[in-house]
Amino acid sequence: MAELRFRNDEALEQPAVTLDGFLQQSNATAVRLEPDEDARLLIPHLDRLALVEIAFPKFRDGRGYSSARILREAGYRGELRAAGDVLVDQIAYMRRCGFDSFLPDAPLDAEAVQASLTFYDHAYQRAADTAVPVWKLRHG
């Protein structure tokens, strides 16, 4: 179960399988993606996926941010979870890349998470969230 979840639907109980396992196993609905695995391999199967868990073995490894956006850009609407070495000050960036649940190795301070999500009212660039980029606010 994710420690932090920004979704209203029921959390899935099924454990996530590896990418190889998922591609071979037609009934799995949850998959775990390692940093070096290609998120685009999941695109043909998005309609049967309810959870994609993206692994962050080290907080410095930012490949998972691209994996998340690629899935959202392809139309994935299920749960997208960041799991592993996830730090408070990364949550806001991850939310913008499309993550909507978090399973950090070390527990997060809820107050600090809340604060980190409220510092910024605006974003300069379009990403995988609903934030309207500043240039669009300027020109409509």
Binding site: P35, F59, R60, D61, G62, R63, Y65, S66, R69, E73, L87, D89, Q90, A92, Y93, M94, R96, C97, D109, A112, A115, S116, F119, Y120, D121, H122, A123, Y124, Q125, R126, A127, P133, V134, W135, K136, L137, R138, H139
Partner: protein
């Protein structure tokens, strides 16, 4: 000059609040140094040998007198009365207290400045041509395009944990005054069939493994500018090496993949990214460009200069460059006086430069990648008065691109006539293998390394960061402190012996090759 609107200001103010909160949590012990380090690094705060160092962004090296005076104020109030202008067109303060960092950022925000992404594995300050808007040879002013990149890259959610730091330069002329091909991405604005576009050079850099960036795409239509950049970065973020910090820069990825394969992957990613609506409308570029409209030049300004003062004439010939507007000139202020540290300026000197910019240069200054300051728009009739003020402030060293920009070497070559005999000779020195001093790109480069606890200096010849970009070659075994000065002298003596006509050192070197110089040094 770009001016913040409510959105720009809100974002920078939010950053001050966020970082202040992070510093508070660290000082209170809520987070460990391991957790805090990546946060302070995202904001340009390093722990150096003697103290904390804060790097402040000067986007594309452009600032006005109000901002320049704030830089002086920070030097006086929070540091030891000086600042250090860097090769990335930024300024660094070397004696900052962590507990003062929030107040400094608040002061900076009050003049539309910040330290966002001046370190960390993210897209750094965008650099540009220090003569932008003043040079006759540009196809467009590159700064609006640099500003567009600044906004796009600021807190980019996908590209803030890249394999390694990422540096972008934008120029708009064939003459490269910004070492564009030694950046992770070098962009040259070009025109084709009357339309503006961008040539992308990707995978250049200095550091331990210097490389000249190959051309990845010769013409990106300007309306695809940000989408193409996003595609370049996404391929790097996904496939750049993360197993070895020394192989993590994009130059290694491109070296290993090959430029053609990298270009193919970018093209494929671009085809997808272009559908996402990342590029702002033309109206946004028009809005930004309006801030960089040419100042109100006096069309009748006299185009002649009285050269009767010989010291003034020497400075004029060395430090003043032609302007696109008749009656005006570009003035370079050397921050490399004999015996000084390249790029250092006292708060008093920073104030003087701010005053001169306000009085003589339409309130504009530039920081150059050679760590000098440029006043871009000075009327020729004001040059003499301005030079006198520079002399007064010890800022009139007439040694732009001459050999004297290093303490001991400057003393050996202190005689200006001797320097002028040697002519254009770009000497670049780095204090460690990370090449902050761009020694690979110097006509003569020096690399200081620490060998078993004592200093050792390696000599490199034949580098260039201009449009004829090349990387310097190491001469052979290194030298001690006096030995390196002797070796530089043997090289310059050999050059004077071999020189034909008006050849620069670099021209002679390229004509005769490496061996005669090696022979002269090691004999």
């Amino acid at each position: 000059m770009y001016k913040y609107d409510q959105y720009d200001q809100a974002i920078v103010d939010a950053r001050v609040a966020e970082f202040s909160d992070q510093v508070r949590r660290r000082l209170a012990g809520d987070i460990t140094e391991d957790q805090f380090k990546p946060l302070r690094l995202m904001n340009g705060l390093y722990l150096q040998l003697h103290a904390y160092m804060l790097r402040v962004a000067i986007p594309y090296g452009t600032l006005d007198s109000r901002q320049m005076r704030m830089l002086a104020h920070i030097a006086r109030k929070y540091d030891r009365d000086y600042g250090h202008f860097t090769t990335r067109q930024n300024i660094q303060y070397n004696w900052i207290k962590l507990e003062d960092a929030p107040a400094i950022l608040a002061d900076l925000a009050s003049v539309e400045m910040h330290a966002i992404q001046t370190s960390g594995n993210c897209i750094r300050n965008i650099s540009s041509d220090q003569y932008a808007g003043a040079a006759a040879d540009e196809v467009a002013d590159p700064r609006p395009w640099a500003e567009l990149l600044r906004q796009w890259s600021t807190f980019h959610p996908e590209f803030s944990y890249l394999p390694r730091k990422f540096k972008i330069a934008v120029i708009a002329s064939d003459e490269d005054r910004a070492a564009m091909k030694l950046h992770d991405i070098g962009i040259q604005l070009v025109t084709r069939d009357g339309k503006l576009g961008a040539a992308f050079y990707v995978g250049g850099g200095m550091g331990r493994t210097p490389m000249v960036a190959p051309l990845i795409k010769d013409f990106v239509p300007i309306e695809d500018y940000l989408s193409y950049s996003e595609a370049c970065l996404r391929v790097y973020n996904r496939y750049g090496r993360r197993d070895n910090i020394y192989k993590a820069r994009i130059k290694i990825l491109i070296h290993e993949l090959g430029a053609a394969e990298y270009a193919r992957q970018v093209e494929e990613e671009f085809a997808h990214v272009k559908t996402l609506g990342i590029d702002p409308p033309a109206a946004e570029l028009e809005r930004i460009s309006a801030f960089f409209a040419p100042p109100a030049f006096d069309a009748g300004a006299p185009d002649s200069v009285d050269r009767s003062d010989p010291d003034f004439a020497v400075w004029l010939d060395q430090n003043v460059k032609p302007h696109k507007q008749p009656g005006y000139a570009i003035v370079n202020i050397s921050l490399k006086p004999v015996g000084g540290i390249p790029g250092d300026a006292s708060s008093a000197q920073i104030d003087v430069m701010a005053d001169l910019a306000e009085r003589y240069s339409f309130d504009e200054l530039r920081v150059t990648h050679a760590q000098n300051i440029v006043l871009p728009h000075v009327a020729k009739r004001d040059l003499y008065a301005m030079w006198q003020a520079l002399v007064e402030a010890d800022l009139a060293a007439p040694n732009l691109d001459l050999i004297s920009d290093a303490q001991k070497i400057a003393q050996r070559f202190a005689d200006l006539d001797r320097q002028r005999t040697l002519g254009e000779l770009k000497l670049k020195i780095s204090g460690c293998i990370n090449a902050c001093g761009h020694h690979h790109a110097g006509h003569i480069g020096i690399l200081g390394v620490d060998r078993k606890g004592t200093e050792n200096y390696q000599l490199l010849l034949g580098g260039s960061g201009a449009e004829d970009t090349s990387l310097g070659k190491i001469t052979g075994p290194g030298f001690d402190e006096d030995g390196i000065v002797d070796a530089v002298e043997r090289v310059t003596d050999k050059y004077l012996e071999l020189r034909e006509g008006e050849e620069r050192f670099l021209d002679t070197y390229r004509r005769v090759g490496f061996d005669p110089f090696k022979e002269a040094i090691y004999g």
